[in-house]
Amino acid sequence: MAQRLGFIGKLLVGVWLAGVMIATFVVIPPYQGLGDAGRIVIVHVPTAWVAVIAFTISAVYSALYLRRRRPDDDAKATAAAEGGLIFTLLSTLTGMVFSQIAWGVFWNWDPRQVTILILLLIYAALFALRSAIDDPERRRRLAAVYSLFAFVTMPFLMFVAPRMADSTLHPNCAFIKGSDCDGITLKIGHVGQLGDQKVQLLGLERQGDIVVAQVKVSTPGLASEAILRPGYDLASRSYTDRPTFPGQRFTLAIESVDLERGEARINMEAPGSGLLANQRTLWVFLASNLGFTMMFIWMFLVRSQVLSLEVQIAQRKVALA
C-alpha cells in the first residue's frame, strides 16, 4: 500500500512539474523588455526557495541528532543539506544565465550573487568536513554542530545582506514594486549613484501636468555619457516615459517630483518590473514553487533512505565481525 502511494506521489510530482514547465513556455506571456528570457525566473526563484527549506530541515535534524544521537537523524540532515546544495547550485546557474541576458554579464558581483556564492562555499565545506573524518560517530557530531553554525548564516546571507546593499540590481530592488528600494532623491545639479551608474540631475521642465527631467548618466571610469529625459505625470503621480540606459536593458524612471525644491526621486528599473502582477505568471510561479518543493521532498526521502541503509549495513558488518 505504502509502495503504491509512493508511486502515485512520484507520478503526481512528475505530471505537476511537466505541467509547470509547459505553462512556463505556453501560458505565461513574454515580459516587456526581457521577452522570453524572463521565463527563467519561474525556475530560478523556486530553486532558491527550496534551498532555504532544505537547509532549515538539515538544521532541524542536526539539532535532533545532537539531542538524540540517532544515526537516522544524521542521515536526514545530510540528505537535506545535499539537496539544499544542489538547489543552491541550480539557482546560481540559472541566475547566471538570466544575468547574462538582463545585465550583459554572467557574473557581476551583485550583492546577492556574492552572498549565494558564500552560502555555496559554506555548505560545500560541510561535505568536505564529512568526507575528511573517518570515525562515523565523530563525523556525525561535528557535521551536526557545523550544520547548525552554517544555518545561522543562511538567513543573513539569503535575506538580510542583499537588502542592506545600496546598489543591488536583484529582484528586491528591480522587480517588486513598492519594495524598499526607493531610488535616490537628487536636487538639480547634484550627482548620485544608481546601481553601477553615475547620474546627475541637470534640470526639470514642466509642460502642463508632465514634468520632464534631464538626467546625465555615465558609468564611473568610462568616458561615454548620455542625457536621458524621463517623464512624470503630476496628476496621476506616475512615470510617463522611462528611457533605457545606453547599452543596457535597464530603464530610468522618475518616482516623485518636488518642483518647489527643485528635486526629483529617480530610480533604476529592470525590464520586467512588476513581473508577478500578471495573474497567469503569478499562478505558474506559485505552482512551480510547490512542484520544486515536492521534488525536493522526493529527493530527500530517497537519499535519506540510502544513507540510513548504509548505516544499517555498516552496523550489521560490525555485529558480524
Binding site: R39, V97, R130, I313, A314
Partner: protein, 107 residues
C-alpha cells in the same frame, strides 16, 4: 536567429539543465537505494537482524563517508558540463555579434 528566438532557446536550455541535474541525481540515488536493498536481502538468513532489533554499536571505519569517490567524479563531470554550456552560450553570443563575411577570402 532573431534575439527573441535566441532568448527562448536559452531559457529552454536553462530549464533543461535544471531537469538534467535533478534527473541524474535522482537516478543515481535511486540506483544506490535499489542496490543497498538487494544487499540487505541477499545477506545469509542466519545473520539477518531486523534493524529495530539491533542495538546501536560503535561502528568502525567500515561505513563509507557521505561523499563517495564516484560522487566526486559526478561532480567533476557536472562542472565540466556546466562550463561547456556557459562557454557555448558565450560562443553563441560572439557568433551573433560578429558581422557575416561577404565575398571570398583573398588568397
Amino acid at each position: 536567429m532573431s534575439e527573441s528566438t535566441s532568448a527562448i532557446y536559452v531559457s529552454m536550455a536553462t530549464v533543461l539543465l535544471v531537469w538534467v541535474t535533478i534527473a541524474i541525481y535522482l537516478a543515481q540515488v535511486s540506483a544506490q537505494l535499489r542496490s543497498l536493498q538487494r544487499d540487505l536481502k541477499s545477506d545469509p538468513p542466519g545473520s539477518a537482524q531486523r534493524p529495530e532489533e539491533m542495538t546501536p554499536q560503535p561502528t568502525a571505519a567500515t561505513e563509507s563517508p557521505s561523499v563517495a569517490a564516484d560522487q566526486w567524479s559526478w561532480m567533476a563531470w557536472y562542472a565540466a558540463l556546466t562550463y561547456g554550456c556557459v562557454e557555448a552560450l558565450g560562443g553563441l553570443q560572439w557568433l551573433r555579434s560578429v558581422p557575416k563575411a561577404v565575398g571570398r577570402w583573398a588568397k
